[in-house]
Symmetry: C2
Subunit: 219 residues, 2 copies
């Protein structure tokens, strides 16, 4: 029967982004085991058929064990495969990505954040995974509520605009951004709540209760 044939190795890899010092960064972890022991890499690991319900749950487990926090959400990116991407043999890696609030990283002892534009050399095909994840993040972030999840509970329109620009690494026209965001109803104004600063008081907003996960609503 066919399944007795040699099967590929099956693993998951995760491209976890965050914004630090106003720059898009990637979370890397130092590998504990060979191959490439001691080298910084995307957090990844084998699927465990005895305990994982699917590859998304495998990715959550890997993040918990290798980075030290519970990922609030993950989106499947792409599945990479072939005989050469891992020295241990023909392998399939189901890659996931997410945009993680920096505050979550406080729980992690081992994660390092590196600017996406200035990463160290990465093992396996992790550079290719990162390139694809950055591209997907940029195209998704522009049209989803994704970057809004990086902000604290209450924020101004300026803060929201800035986090979108940082997530996609490009300028967004402020007026049309504001129009699009309000039209789609992913945020709601907090009645009588304003941030008072050097300028005139700025209206405070929060994510609308309908914007449950960053990938569900498109703007």
């Amino acid at each position: 029967m066919e399944p007795s044939m040699r099967q590929p190795l099956v693993m998951v890899d995760t491209a976890l982004f965050t914004i630090r010092d106003e720059r898009l960064c990637l979370i890397l972890a130092r590998r504990q085991e060979p191959p490439f022991a001691g080298v910084l890499a995307l957090p990844g690991g084998f699927v465990h058929v005895e305990e994982d319900a699917d590859t998304a749950m495998a990715a959550r487990r890997v993040i918990r064990h290798k980075v030290g926090f519970d990922a609030p959400y993950l989106e499947q990116l792409f599945t990479f495969s072939g005989p050469a991407r891992d020295p241990r043999g023909w392998s399939v890696s189901v890659a996931y990505y997410a945009l993680i609030p920096l505050s979550l990283l406080d729980q992690s002892q081992v994660a390092e954040t590196w600017p996406a534009e200035a990463l160290p050399p990465l093992p396996f095909d992790h550079s290719q995974i990162v390139a694809q994840a950055v591209e997907r993040l940029r195209s998704k972030a522009t049209y989803s509520s994704l970057p809004a999840f990086l902000l604290p509970g209450e924020f101004t329109m300026n803060e929201l605009h800035r986090i979108y620009e940082q997530s996609i690494g490009a300028r967004l026209d402020k007026a049309s951004f504001r129009h699009k965001i309000l039209e789609q109803g992913i945020i709601e104004a907090l009645p009588d709540r304003f941030r008072v600063g050097a300028h005139r008081p700025a209206q405070l907003y929060r994510l609308a209760s309908t914007a449950l996960t960053p990938f569900e609503r498109k703007i």
Copy 2:
């Protein structure tokens, strides 16, 4: 070492669409082997680590063997996984989709086309794969040159408009469709070539040489 652990089964499944009698159809093939021998299913099969360069090449091989033609292009859809989707054990299926010209099917002895809205009961999680493929096709087709690849070399604007509507299963405003298509330069008018019929002669177009594959250009 970790790779000595039990690995999941790794397979590919393909959702191949075509337009027949102006309806979006799916290509199904009758399974030759257990499980579900004799049952109509998405063409699929195991990855062969000895011969496949990656999962996309595995999908091409499966289509060649099980459906009988060379797929002109394939797009990765999603990777499905878990202990219950296949009775043979914990499995990962990398799913692909494509929109295939009906003429290619003339080469096939075994493929059956079924309207996407009236499929027979499918084995494994193939219904879920189909649902996701239909959704992706509809969102992609609207903004890509994908449906144009179903047409013969020369076509009128009306024919192009119709094949887009059939691919996404929805009405598209004719004027704004025409505007969008021409603006993006995915087709070019053939000088002095017109289709003459009951109405006034209709300008003939062809795909622009820059529209190399259906997924490369977005409209």
